[in-house]
Symmetry: D2
């Protein structure tokens, strides 16, 4: 069965800004979805901010193995209840790939638990993403580095937790560096942050960038059954303890009672 | 200058439950603060849920180097705006020590970005906390392990991110295990989660537990000046790039404009 | 193409000790290889200490995707040059699964860079391995925990580097705990340490243990082409720098000269 | 009591190469020791390759809290038995700071368990070390970055294990990046690798570099008593188990017997 990837996009700048529209006439999400679909093992579809429930209903998320997230201008318009839902699905095992300015999206800040801040400059300068571990599944097929003629600078300090793995580190013409490919695990879900993607440059049309996105979808996919009760704290009654014990001492709870949250 | 530690407590069960009241007549916070104050390098004070702003005003937090957090029944009564404030202070460099049932507190879930769930059993069983790295600053003076005659079982899976360091792992009489001492870094702030502390047993009266708390306060203290703008994403104008570059390509932003959030 | 797994065993106690011989009449390696071969995606073979080059010639290692290592009594008899060779293959991308008393094998100490010491007790006591992340590929199919009626106790402190992922933590009847399933990355190679396996108990006949071994082989397999020059430090001549620069300042090396090692 | 730092240097190029001699007439070790000694909390001394036991006798190491290591041309001349001794002291709690070309020293490869390879270019190009976490103790007082007018390029991929903390990442004029400040823990010892230091440029005369070295000595210092038996694997006899158990099943060892190594 192919991996079911959903590409989410706020889809604002492509409709408001002529430069962006010229590069992504149908929206960034469609360009990315097409790039993913060239891998026959991936079944890619899209969702956008202006759809009901931002296109991320309970049913839709239940059928999503990996969610890609692109947002920039409209982070604040994403409903908290949809973010709750996405976060829970990540905990249950859905993969999450956060792209570029998604570093300040609600969902990324939620799962990082950190400021997620950085420095930036929109100067169309050269970026070179060095593969730190060329044998990592996400870096397959891209060689020593990816070079982007025009890119937005995202610079350190990037205030995220120390990652599970550093996959890419970027060099910028203007003198900065950036950890531009980072992996994390939260609950049963795997998370990949990938830096490049400013909308005024044709970055998602780049063949190597598209290769990384396909790799990342395969990497983030957890084939295990969703861990539906991952966020609950079950009581283990005394008579069901793995070792035989007897209750001693004071107590707050009546037998079988739920814990506080 | 001594380290300024603030011990926060929801202070509910000590007033409602006779067992708890008998153990902590003045509240868990006062027992812990007294234990910390036996270290002349620590200046400990307390704050509780029922104080204005839960005792955690902007001014108070600005004067707190390390915050200890004990909550259980009233997590939901803690105001989101106070949690925002505490989180920002952690990012700026305030240490945070989360105790026992604080695993489900708003602030811990915020900075972990993970479910923070676990299994539990209130049976007064024996717990033995093994020091994984006896040379770690937090484990100084406690020997190979700490043994608690009566403890609440907190068992794996504990759904938190892989820690920076595993300091303690607990064994329980009933057959479970728990990673009961874990360190994290978020922004400029250091975080320590410490498992034991169920309120129906006199755990915070234990000399070794008190030693760990004092050690943890010293470890979590970051003497660097607060990183006040840790959560902002400053633009670096083209003419202030470390290397001389010229702007190229399309643009979304006018010169000097703030980024989106 | 199936994953080529080689099960290495010192194969000493099975020939010297009647208890061990009764459990593993053909050697631990054959029991494990048979367990792996029940997965049609794995092609398992064996190698032992007494074969020429311990069965691990250059050619054999080149055809090994994942190496499993069982040793106990004869760590010192393994030739350093074979260990060099195995280590280099791990760096190039071969997976390595180190079993039980292999914690003190030359190859494990080499790739950990740490003491790898622990406490032990041979009392046939009960061990319960808790799955920390039940959604991890290595823990698939084993449920909440694995229970072994008779096991050797391996206890903390286990002096290894903080792992990439903690997959299992063990509880022992005698009161200790042990991080019994840990993952690491070294160069292009993935490493898994798995604690249970004392030779006087029929542990590798256990269905759940066998499931973990199959899972671990699949997890440790890196399908990328071997990174043959992973250990070399190539010079990048000035005229091949990604950005155009001119040489300045003093120099130790003539143009194109090799670096020191 | 001040921290006792020993600066080790192979001390070869300063005697053979006129450029290096002009920059470090008394040797790199003396320049670094003088920089450390400007901190009244540090008592710095030196040791070199040509001294008996390379200046690192058992007694000398026992009186060293933090060892700094600079080597380049003569890694192969360092005796394995001295490396064994240094490694054991790191495991017991001695801090280790490995400088520049020390990435290929025997001791660094030993404690990393990884290839430690990188790319390099001696072109006197500009390097800019960005502080990833400006609140980290090692980065105190250096601001956003350190800029070196002339430096040797050390580029990714740098084949080391994922660090505990990434403290600095370097940008190079020629287009590469490098994780130039990394922390690790091995046994009771803290390790810091710091990239800059090519001997044909006056890098250790730089005030910010000196500040980092002083900070690193303070960070790497473990005040706990040395963990002398950190590398041994003690048997815990059945009658000394924390919980009362009885021996069951088969056995390899007679009571109280030592384990195999």
């Amino acid at each position: 069965m192919p991996i079911r990837a959903t590409v989410w996009n706020e889809f604002v700048h492509e409709r408001e800004n002529a430069t962006v529209k010229a590069i992504y006439p149908e929206g960034i999400h469609r360009t990315i979805a097409a790039a993913l679909s060239s891998d026959e093992g991936i079944d890619a579809s899209t969702a956008t901010l202006d759809e009901p429930e931002h296109g991320l209903s309970v049913e839709r998320l239940a059928k999503t193995d990996v969610l890609l997230w692109w947002g920039h201008k409209a982070h604040g318009e994403v409903s908290d209840s949809v973010v709750d839902r996405v976060q829970q699905r990540v905990f249950e095992g859905m993969g999450l790939i956060v792209l570029h300015s998604g570093h300040f999206s609600k969902i990324f800040k939620r799962v990082m638990g950190a400021p997620c801040s950085l420095r930036w400059r929109e100067a169309g300068e050269r970026e070179r993403l060095w593969a730190i571990n060329r044998s990592h599944p996400i870096a397959q097929g891209v060689g020593d580095f990816i070079e982007l003629t025009n890119s937005e600078m995202y610079g350190e300090p990037f205030l995220v937790p120390e990652p599970m793995e550093t996959v890419f580190v970027s060099w910028y013409e203007g003198g900065e560096v950036f950890r531009s490919g980072l992996t994390y695990q939260r609950g049963a879900g795997r998370i990949f942050y990938f830096g490049p993607g400013h909308e005024t440059y044709p970055i998602y049309h780049d063949a190597q960038i598209q290769q990384v996105l396909r790799n990342a979808v395969r990497w983030a996919h957890n084939p295990a059954r969703p861990w539906l009760d991952v966020s609950t704290a079950p009581n283990v009654p005394v008579d069901q303890a793995p070792e035989k014990i007897e209750k001693r001492g004071g107590s707050l709870h009546a037998a079988g009672e739920e814990g506080f949250r």
